[in-house]
């Protein structure tokens, strides 16, 4: 079958599902709603697999296939088609997105059973999947932006899913507004791109940029790169726009798994990887990406150390891992960033789903201080959570190890790498292992600290929820094996597979002068990252299993540092003070009372009414009802008209 139609069949089923559930869902039974919802996602997955198969089969040429269906916008020079762009990067993204999304749809059947708003949930979830697929298959920047904003909208709707809870609706607004700041950058960047190249079509723009000499248009491209990265930083929760992601945990857990761990938040990484050729011609912008990514990874990792809320800890962990992906892209090893995106999608969505399973068992409790000892009662959940934890900590041969190692190796010896980035990344790897095992131990090991009234109905979740967990656990183990590093006598197959996509960018980056400081061998680099993970795990085991009073003593001894960490460096407070409060005051005192109340309401709206009434008051005196006066007016008019004709002309 023709790939052109398969792609449409892949993208549209979720939209149909969303439409059906959105319109009729209220009157349908839960079984029907979930059938429609999961069916939409399932069809997408099937067609994603089919198109991947057909694309791979159709000759060995790894060229991107742009499909233009119809002209969507035509205005002056600007022309945007409804077009898809299918290459190996798209293939990997669509597979990752649809597989994870389908599993999470299945999981949601069980998770949302007693939550209310069942059909609404599946409507949004399907709509999200449609938008996400639009984002990753789009063949030009405007269409990608549609998907980009669409997933933002669905994210907002789903974070605020429990809209009766104020914290949830606030969190939704926060996510929407903060990402909008980034989107402003994205829009301006795209406009600048158009201004420079007179096209927004991926194929055209990338060909034009690839044809440039290194240094040509560098200023413009640097600006474009930075602006696009601003959008990416908003969407993918990087410094300084990461603040919305922890709050986004107000949404139902499957949403956190799908949108805020596996797919939507990786859209920024995808954007940078998709525009790799632009960044390759703007090394300064690319360096910013790497540095911001690395700092975010470390910064969020330190915050995660002291979090007691299971989901928030995972949220900071997500920010940190997204930082890794940007670090990978930023040092020029785009394939490693995408590789980590894929493995992370599996193990992080697994972590969230397992956390959801814990939450389900604990009647919604998320405070890890009130958990403990759950491994006996939640055997499947525990096993899968353990696998995901090992995977994210970077212990071979689990998935996270390979992707993280590739990024760290790239940070050391990549085109824009530097030992500093490598060491900070490795330190973060240690932090990751520590806080993840801390969470694991606090939740599943030790004495039970569960409150008595919840303790007696702690139960393992139904098979509807555990089967997706097991499938994801399988992927969390094996997903890394597609790219065994050369140091382990592998072939780095994943990188080679993506070479046609990132080759031009890598070639362009070769011309960038770079200094190499270190001379560590790849095997040594790998050894250090494993060592860091092991130290992290060891410390966590020592502090949270053996001598459980050490953390408290440390917290007391370094009370100031501890307080800063538990308050997340006071960033939220700082933003509140710097932006939110002044905005509120300005809105209240100036925009509301002066602009709206005085100017718009009073001067403009009431003014227009009163002005009309006043003029009418004067003019109605003409309507005397007195016929001779009408006659006089007519005569006067006729005389004036004749004067006009004879004098003015």
């Amino acid at each position: 079958m023709n790939l052109e139609y398969l792609l449409l069949l892949m993208v549209f089923p979720p939209l149909v599902g969303a439409a059906l559930n959105g319109v009729f869902g209220r009157r349908l039974s839960q079984a029907t709603v979930s059938l429609i919802g999961c069916g939409g996602a399932g069809l997408s997955m099937v067609f994603a697999l089919l198109s991947a198969w057909i694309y791979s089969k159709s000759g060995s040429q790894p060229v991107p296939l742009p499909y233009r269906y119809f002209t969507w916008i035509q205005a002056g020079l600007l022309r945007a088609d409804y077009a898809f762009y299918y290459d190996r990067l798209t293939l990997i993204m669509t597979l990752t997105v649809t597989v994870v999304a389908f599993l999470i749809h299945l999981y949601s059947r069980g998770y949302m059973e007693h939550e209310g708003g069942y059909y609404r949930f599946f409507t949004y979830l399907n709509l999200f999947l449609f938008m996400m697929l639009t984002l990753v298959t789009a063949g030009n920047y405007p269409l990608m932006f549609v998907g980009w904003e669409g997933v933002g909208l669905c994210s907002y709707l789903l974070i605020g899913f429990y809209f009766k809870r104020k914290s949830a609706s606030d969190a939704g607004k926060k996510a929407f507004i903060v990402t909008r700041i980034g989107d402003a950058g994205f829009t301006v960047g795209v406009a600048l791109l158009f201004w420079t190249f007179h096209s927004l079509d991926f194929q055209t723009v990338f060909d034009r940029v690839a044809g440039l000499h290194q240094g040509e248009f560098e200023n413009v491209l640097t600006a474009v790169g930075l602006l696009l990265f601003m959008g990416a930083a908003g969407k993918s929760a990087q410094l300084p726009l990461y603040v919305w992601l922890p709050d986004a945990m107000e949404g139902p857990t499957p949403v956190s798994a799908l949108i805020h761990a596996a797919t939507m938040v990786t859209a920024g990484v995808y954007l940078v990887a998709r525009s790799s050729i632009i960044f390759a011609h703007a090394p300064a912008a690319l360096a910013v990406v790497g540095i911001v990514g690395c700092l975010t990874a470390f910064f969020a990792g330190t915050i995660a150390l002291t979090q007691n809320d299971l989901k928030r800890m995972l949220a900071y962990s997500t920010i940190s891992q997204l930082g890794y992906m940007f670090l990978g892209c930023g040092v020029g090893v785009f394939a490693a960033g995408i590789f980590h995106l894929m493995t992370h999608a599996f193990f992080k969505s697994l972590l969230f789903l397992a956390a959801g399973s814990v939450m389900h068992a604990m009647s919604g409790e998320l405070d890890m201080r009130k958990m403990g000892g759950l491994r006996h009662k939640l055997k499947t959940t525990y096993a899968t959570f353990l696998i995901a934890t090992i995977a994210i900590s970077g212990i071979p041969p689990f998935a996270g190890f390979f992707s993280k190692d590739e990024i760290l190796a790239g940070a050391y010896e990549g085109p824009l790498g530097s030992p500093l980035l490598y060491w900070l990344g490795t330190l973060t790897a240690g932090l990751t292992a520590f806080y993840m095992f801390r969470g694991l131990y606090m939740t599943f090991w030790g004495e039970s600290r569960v409150e008595p009234e919840t303790a007696h109905h702690v139960h393992e979740s139904s098979y509807k929820m555990t089967i997706p967990l097991m499938v994801l656990a399988f992927f969390s183990v094996v997903a890394g094996w597609v790219s065994i590093p050369k140091a382990l006598h592998g072939s780095e197959a994943f990188d080679q597979y993506l070479d046609p996509v990132f080759g031009p960018a890598t070639d362009a980056l070769r011309h960038v002068p770079s200094e190499h400081f270190g001379d560590l061998s790849p095997a040594a680099l790998m050894g250090f990252s494993i060592l860091a993970a092991l130290i992290g795990i060891g410390l966590a085991s020592w502090w949270y299993l053996k001598s459980t009073d050490i953390p408290e003593q440390l917290a007391e001894r370094y009370a100031d540092a501890y307080r800063i960490l538990t308050h997340k460096y006071y960033v939220d407070e700082f933003y509140n003070w710097l932006i939110v409060r002044p905005l509120c005051i300005a809105s209240d005192k100036f925009l509301w009372r002066v602009v709206d109340a005085s100017v718009i309401d009073n001067a403009l709206v009431n003014g227009a009414g009163e002005g009309t009434a006043g003029v009418g008051d004067v003019l109605r005196r003409i309507q005397s009802g007195n016929i001779p006066s009408y006659a006089a007016w007519i005569l006067l008019g006729a005389v004036l008209w004749m004067l006009y004709i004879f004098v003015a002309r």
Binding site: N626, I627, P628, A631
Partner: protein, 100 residues
Amino acid sequence: MVPLSHYLALSVILFVLGAAGFIFRRNIITVFMCIELMLNAVNLAFMAFSRFLENLDGQIFVFFVIVVAAAEAAVGLAIIIALHRNRESLNIEDVDSMKM
């Protein structure tokens, strides 16, 4: 031969008389007659020009005006009778119920 200007002067005098009467007189029938006076002033001007220019167009216009005036007289007088039956008055100042 009487020059054109004499006819026109007479026409203007008649018209101004009619207009003044239309504005200042209070009896509706008088007002009505003033309208006829203005129409005939205009007819006079038409006729004078028609003769002066030796062109029949003006005379055709006069016929039209006479026909319209006849129709107007019929409708107008009917209105006046209806008014008198309702108001028992022919003073134009009593007819002002359209006033705001």
